[in-house]
């Protein structure tokens, strides 16, 4: 079983090295798909294993897969598979650049897998910073002015935020040294949290959450996100919106357990509620006048991470299970949407919403899945986001956050209205240029790209809300590990 842990992050890392060395092989395009598939397989194996035992450990306890880690690994693999397979390009124009892209994607997957499998908080930190490093050149891949600006802001803000998180971890370690039991192990910390100095713990938890919140895209530290997700290639944006934000949020969840054990739920709840509401507000207001459909999807990600923060603030079985379901559902939906938007960008040549009208008439093969994906994102049943959003709101209301959830509902409605308006503008209306339906044959293979991953992703999202037995049990097991 512990081999699954090793393979989960070593295999993508090995592929990253191989791809960059064998730069001329055409099949380099498959590298990231293979890496995602392997991560998914390891995730499923570990989920099955942790259904029966508490956790799988190796490397002397430094690496540890409990039910939550296994769930996150499965999510990383699944969402990675959708993004990389959907953006699969087996005949790239520039093989060496394409090989570099694939290599960085594999390294990115490896870093994320390591982050969720690390029991040692220091190792978790190193892995999260490694995700910034591997994605820096991915964001700046297209070498335009805008992508350079986006990459610079992303690296500077992301690294500064993560450095603040590191200070938090340092203070936390100092607290354990002072208590006589120096440790950075999460499991160790959960056992001694009650004995740690509250003053130091407050500082440590506050700084750590502040730092990881920057990486997760929570307001007010979100300014890098629309730029980075808007400028990156489609597969990268899908992975970043779908999984990287979730992995950073996972770090916050782990810190929250320790902080709640040492200080009681007050501090974390206050921080997460403010960050959550601020993110919802920022997203809802800036979606109203959005003009770029990739940035629109990025702001939607901020909205959903805000919702995750509110769910974590609420706590309790219902809200946390809903949070985990939301991570999976949002990840699958958002990555499909980014894959489709990448194809749309290639077909239309512009990312401006005002320039793409009448998509349903002109490019039905692209527009139909795009609309379905947007419907899923907006939270229409039967898609799982409906159930997870409902779960978060009801869970929060049950745990004393009624007013907060009311405000959240209002903001969600504003975001809903803004997003649907933008969606209808893109799908309906007269095509630009006024000419009668220019059929899709004028552009070479417009919706070029595998349809199956998008279909699978949206299909799974439609179904998992109902599958109490395999999915619900898995989520419940994972949520248990956070109950301390």
């Amino acid at each position: 079983m512990s081999t699954a842990i090793w393979i989960a992050f070593l295999f993508p890392a090995a592929l990253a090295v191989v791809t960059v060395l064998a730069a001329r092989a055409r099949v380099a395009g498959l590298a990231s798909v293979a890496a995602s598939a392997v991560v998914l397989a390891c995730g499923i194996t570990l989920t099955a294993a942790t259904a029966r035992t508490d956790a799988v450990e190796c490397a002397g306890g430094v690496l540890r897969a409990d039910a939550l880690s296994a769930f996150m690994l499965t999510a990383i693999g699944a969402i990675g598979l959708v993004s990389t397979w959907g953006a699969l390009d087996l005949r790239p124009r520039n093989p060496r650049t394409a090989a570099r892209l694939q290599s960085l994607l594999c390294a990115f997957l490896s870093a994320m897998s390591l982050a969720v499998l690390a029991d040692n908080l220091g190792l978790l930190w190193v892995a999260v910073e490694a995700t910034t490093i591997t994605t820096a050149f991915l964001v700046g891949h297209y070498r335009t002015r805008h992508s350079l600006e986006a990459a610079w802001k992303y690296v500077v803000l992301g690294s500064t935020g993560v450095a603040i998180a590191f200070l938090g971890i340092v203070v936390l370690y100092g607290a354990t040294v002072q208590a006589g039991t120096p440790t950075l192990s999460w499991t160790g910390l959960t056992q001694i949290a009650g004995h740690l100095d509250p003053g130091l713990m407050r500082l440590a938890a506050g700084l750590a959450v502040l730092g990881f919140a920057t990486k997760a895209g929570l307001a007010p530290l979100h300014s890098w996100l629309p730029d980075a997700h808007g400028q990156a290639p489609a597969a990268v944006s899908g992975l970043m919106s779908g999984v990287l934000l979730a992995v950073a949020f996972y770090a916050i969840l782990r810190i929250q357990v320790i902080a709640d054990l040492a200080l009681g739920p007050g501090l974390m709840r206050a921080m997460l509620v403010s960050a959550g509401l601020a993110s919802l507000a920022v997203a809802a207001l800036l979606l109203i006048r959005q003009q770029d459909y990739k940035r629109m999807l990025a702001y939607s990600s901020i909205e959903h991470v805000g919702l995750l923060a509110l769910g974590a603030a609420a706590g309790g079985t219902l809200a946390i299970t809903a949070v985990l379901l939301h991570i999976l559902g949002h990840g699958l939906t958002k990555s499909s949407l980014f894959v489709l938007s990448g194809r749309l960008l290639r077909a239309e040549g512009t990312a401006r919403i005002a320039s793409v009208h009448g998509l349903l008439a002109r490019r039905p093969k692209l527009a139909r899945p795009f609309l379905i994906g947007l419907a899923a994102l907006l939270g229409f049943p039967p898609f799982s986001l409906f159930f997870s959003e409902l779960g978060i709101i009801i869970g929060g209301w049950q745990r004393g956050l009624g007013v907060v959830m009311g405000a959240a509902l209002v903001l969600l409605l504003v975001a809903f209205a803004a997003l649907s308006r933008l969606a209808t503008r893109m799908s309906f209306g007269a095509p630009p240029g006024g000419s009668a339906a220019e059929p899709a044959t004028s552009a070479p293979a417009p919706a070029a790209g595998p349809q199956l991953p998008v279909f699978l992703a949206l299909g799974v999202t439609a179904v998992i809300g109902f599958l109490t037995v395999p999915v619900g049990l898995m989520l419940a097991r994972a949520a248990e590990t956070l109950a301390g």
Partner: protein, 243 residues
């Protein structure tokens, strides 16, 4: 200085590493040394807030890295811990030699050496830096109180470096200046790490140094691309993406 064998209390991430130890320095000497080095760190922070020249800033950040390494070495000698001495050497190589070299390559891409229009002039920057250092001392009180270890009084110096680093990142307009600010921020966090906790486990510290090196290298590459796209390394030009 004699090298004797004795068992060590160091956390066992490298089994067998703690079996050689050094006879510690006399306590009064090491305390004075640590205090002097903390003063050097603070002075370098204030000087960095004052100087607008890229070359001077890079020399100052190298000095800061060397002072940090010396502080770690003092801690190592005081505790008789060879692992800390090894870490000090690594810190010296990376923060005082390699990273300033990378920064000087980045500085070649901007047209002039002096920052011509910073948001805060030199005098105001120094005042702001001083205010931030005072703030750091206020905020750092609970940290000093909680730590009974060696040179605990110097912990706020680390926080001060962090805040002045943030000040530089926010008020300077050139890419190199932002990089210097980021390095100072990281130095500050390292000071807190070594004084508060006696350093983190070795593997974590290696990972942190590696990450830092890679981040600075990446930023240097991005800085190298800027003149081609923006005609300079003025960060004010990076404001075309907005809503």
């Amino acid at each position: 200085m004699m090298i004797t064998t004795m068992s060590s209390h160091v956390p066992e991430l490298l089994p067998g590493a703690g079996t050689i130890a050094l006879t510690p320095l006399p306590s009064a000497l090491s305390t004075q040394l640590a205090a002097t080095l903390a003063g050097v760190l603070l002075l370098s922070a204030v000087l960095l807030a004052w100087r607008l020249s890229a070359r001077a800033s890079i020399r100052l950040i190298a000095l800061q890295g060397a002072a940090l390494a010396a502080l770690v070495a003092t801690l190592g000698l005081e505790a008789g811990d060879p692992e800390l001495i090894g870490t000090a050497v690594l810190v010296l190589v990376i923060k005082a030699v390699v990273l300033p070299w990378v920064l000087s390559r980045a500085a070649r891409h901007s047209r002039t050496d002096r920052e011509s229009t910073p948001r805060l002039g030199p005098a105001l920057s120094v005042l702001a830096a001083a205010a931030l250092i005072v703030l750091a001392y206020l905020v750092g009180q609970p940290l000093i109180a909680a730590d009974s270890g060696f040179a605990a009084d110097a912990i706020p110096v680390g926080l001060g470096l962090l805040l002045v680093g943030l000040l530089l990142m926010m008020t300077r307009r050139r890419a190199v200046s932002a990089l210097v600010g980021f390095l100072m921020l990281d130095n500050g966090i390292a000071v807190v790490a070594f004084l508060l906790a006696g350093g983190l486990p070795v593997i974590v510290e290696l990972g942190v140094l590696l990450d830092l090196l890679l981040v600075v290298l990446i930023l240097q590459v991005l800085t190298a691309r800027m003149p081609g796209k923006f005609g300079g390394t003025d960060l004010e030009d990076l404001s075309e993406l907005h809503d």
